[in-house]
């Protein structure tokens, strides 16, 4: 325990500047590697002498040592949870970024404990702060992102999760991130969007998974694909083909492994409500076991809305009875309430004539200000994206790997392949003049 007391004194002394933290890290690492079996009370005693806001690095070292001990164990550690929460909420952002990898380990165990305790909401505020403070920049993805999303789904508290998802996280650092972390972010993210009924965003999120290069089928990708089929049916009424830059291996294997889902999708092809009902009833048990029954039912009810939409393409005016009959709704009043609902959600632009019970479909009426506002926002988004692409393009254009590749291609296109030269009887000297020189080669070699 003397070592620990000494460590506390060191932490209190060495927490001011970045150099101090590096030194502190080196000194504390042996301590955390050889920890005795720390009792929660001992951890409490030590951490109560430290202030998470000033001594973040030190607190993180102790907590990550405790996390390693808890990794294999069952059960709870309320003290650990309490201190982790304090660390994330009150900790200094710079110091947390410095010990990022330790914080990832701590949060892994923290999320696990929140799940086990049955009170997932306990971790939400802490992880929300953690996401903000630990990521190297607001654009970076961290494991804390998907942990926050998971706790939101378990506790049914979605607003913090949606705020995080709205942020444009486009970068993935190499340190501390696995493919699984990205895939889980996509999977849970799409489930959060579906829970708050923002199906277009759910669809966009799910598509991201198929853009990752891969050599084998990951189990999370299979689950993502199942949700992709159903969400695609909700948003587009059909399963939109995977992007053309998806790995061909993935395309082949996914076609084979989700038979029932493709069955359901086929039933949607003709937009007939009865066919869809039959297909869903057939696969209900499977869909329920896999947690996708809710989405399947949403897909079914979206068929009505889609059928009404397609009527607007063919008819200018139609009576409510005719609409109900065409679309598969039971009667005129349910057709009217469905149309009112769609108009409320701005999915359709129509006029109802109460006296004649007729609906006239109109071209979308938007005020000039509204139109201008929408156009301006879209243009701004495009400009931001353009700027980001330009920066990426410049970085690649200036990188060594790219320049070497371009030089090699240029050489080959101008002078041909070295093998052709040999066949034509070129001398070694001639080849030496134009061929790619190995690294460390000097021009006086061999002369």
């Amino acid at each position: 325990m003397d070592r620990v007391e000494g460590a506390v004194a060191q932490i209190q002394g060495l927490s001011a500047t970045r150099d101090d933290w590096t030194q502190l890290n080196t000194q504390l690492d042996p301590l955390s590697a050889n920890t005795p079996d720390w009792e929660p009370a001992a951890l409490d005693a030590v951490l109560s002498q430290l202030d998470p806001a000033r001594h973040t690095v030190g607190c993180a070292c102790f907590l990550s040592a405790r996390a390693k001990l808890l990794a294999g164990a069952d059960g709870q550690d309320e003290g650990f949870m309490r201190h982790t929460r304090r660390l994330l909420i009150e900790g200094d952002a710079e110091q947390l970024k410095f010990v990022r990898l330790k914080v990832h380990d701590i949060c892994d165990i923290f999320t696990l404990m929140c799940r086990r305790s049955g009170n997932a909401m306990y971790g939400i505020r802490a992880l929300r702060e953690g996401v903000r403070k630990v990521a190297p920049s607001p654009d970076h993805l961290t494991p804390l992102h998907h942990q926050l999303l998971l706790l939101s789904l378990l506790s049914k508290c979605f607003k913090p999760a949606v705020e995080v998802l709205e942020g444009r996280t486009v970068r993935v650092g190499k340190e501390g991130m696995l493919a699984r972390d990205v895939l889980l972010y996509i999977y849970y993210g799409s489930m959060v969007f579906a829970a708050v009924k923002r199906y277009e965003r759910a669809f966009d999120t799910l598509q991201l998974a198929f853009t990752m290069p891969c050599h084998a089928l990951h189990e999370v990708v299979v689950e993502i694909y199942k949700k992709y089929v159903l969400v695609s049916l909700i948003v587009h009424g059909e399963v939109v083909a995977l992007p053309k830059y998806t790995t061909s291996m993935l395309q082949r294997m996914l076609k084979g492994c989700c038979g029932p889902y493709h069955d359901v999708a086929a039933a949607f092809a003709h937009h007939k409500v009865d066919d869809v009902k039959v297909s869903l009833a057939k696969h209900q048990a499977l869909l329920q076991t896999e947690g996708n029954w809710g989405l399947a039912q949403q897909a079914m009810s979206s068929t009505y809305a889609r059928n009404i939409q397609s009527l607007t393409q063919t008819f200018v005016t139609l009576s409510l009875d005719d609409i109900a009959r065409e679309v598969g709704l039971p009667d005129a009043s349910s057709a009217k309430s469905k149309i009112l609902e769609m108009m409320y959600k701005r999915e359709i632009s129509a006029g109802i004539d109460e006296s004649k019970n007729m609906v006239s479909f109109e071209a979308s009426r938007m005020s000039p200000q509204e139109l201008l506002g929408r156009l301006t926002t879209q243009i701004r988004v495009c400009n931001d994206l353009n700027e980001q692409m330009r920066v990426v393009d410049e970085t690649i254009g200036a990188s060594n790997i790219y320049l070497d590749k371009v030089a090699k291609q240029e050489r080959q296109s101008r002078w041909g392949e070295p093998a052709d030269w040999v066949a034509a009887g070129a001398s070694t000297d001639e080849m030496m003049d134009v061929a790619e020189k190995p690294p460390g080669f000097s021009s006086s070699h061999g002369r």
């Binding site: 009924k197 109460e354 009426r365």
Partner: protein
């Protein structure tokens, strides 16, 4: 998990926020919920949950209102006012506006909910008026009055403006 002093601080914050718009009051309630996580003294949590639920309705955020109801501690759901707000939410979900209006006017409200329920009624009526003006080319005054939950005279006056 949350001590009396913290509850006091949050209550004060809510009181101040209620003087302003729904957004501020909602934020105060959400922050309080993330602190107590459903495990504080029920008497302390109840006033917040009432305001929380009705603020979602004011913002027309029925999805989040529903999730709030789902995750609320079961013991609180017996409260009469809370149940009334939830029934209004259910009527709004099914677009049964007539029932929503009558429930809002007929129920007995206490504390901040008196002002908030009146605000909600006004908000619902103005949304409905906007929808009618966009969707209907002709509508009878009686139907209009029914859709907006007013008497025929009130509706005629409202629409003339």
């Amino acid at each position: 998990m949350i001590d009396a002093a913290a509850v006091q601080a949050h209550s004060k914050r809510l009181e101040q926020a209620l003087g302003g718009d729904a957004e501020g009051a909602l934020k105060a309630c959400e922050d309080f919920e993330l602190e107590h996580c459903g495990e504080a003294d029920p008497a302390a949590m109840l006033p917040f949950y009432r305001v929380h639920l009705i603020c979602y309705l004011l913002q027309d955020d029925l999805v989040n209102a529903r999730w709030l109801w789902e995750r609320m501690p079961q013991s609180l759901k017996g409260d009469a006012e809370l149940q009334a707000v939830w029934k209004v939410a259910q009527h709004l979900w099914k677009r049964e506006l007539k029932d929503a209006y009558s429930l809002l006017t007929a129920s007995r409200w206490t504390g901040p909910l008196t002002a908030l329920s009146t605000r909600l009624l006004g908000e619902l009526r103005s949304r409905q008026a906007r929808l009618i003006s966009v969707s209907h080319s002709t509508i009878s005054v009686a139907d209009c009055a029914q859709m907006m939950g007013m008497t025929v005279e009130e509706a005629a006056k409202e629409c003339a403006g």
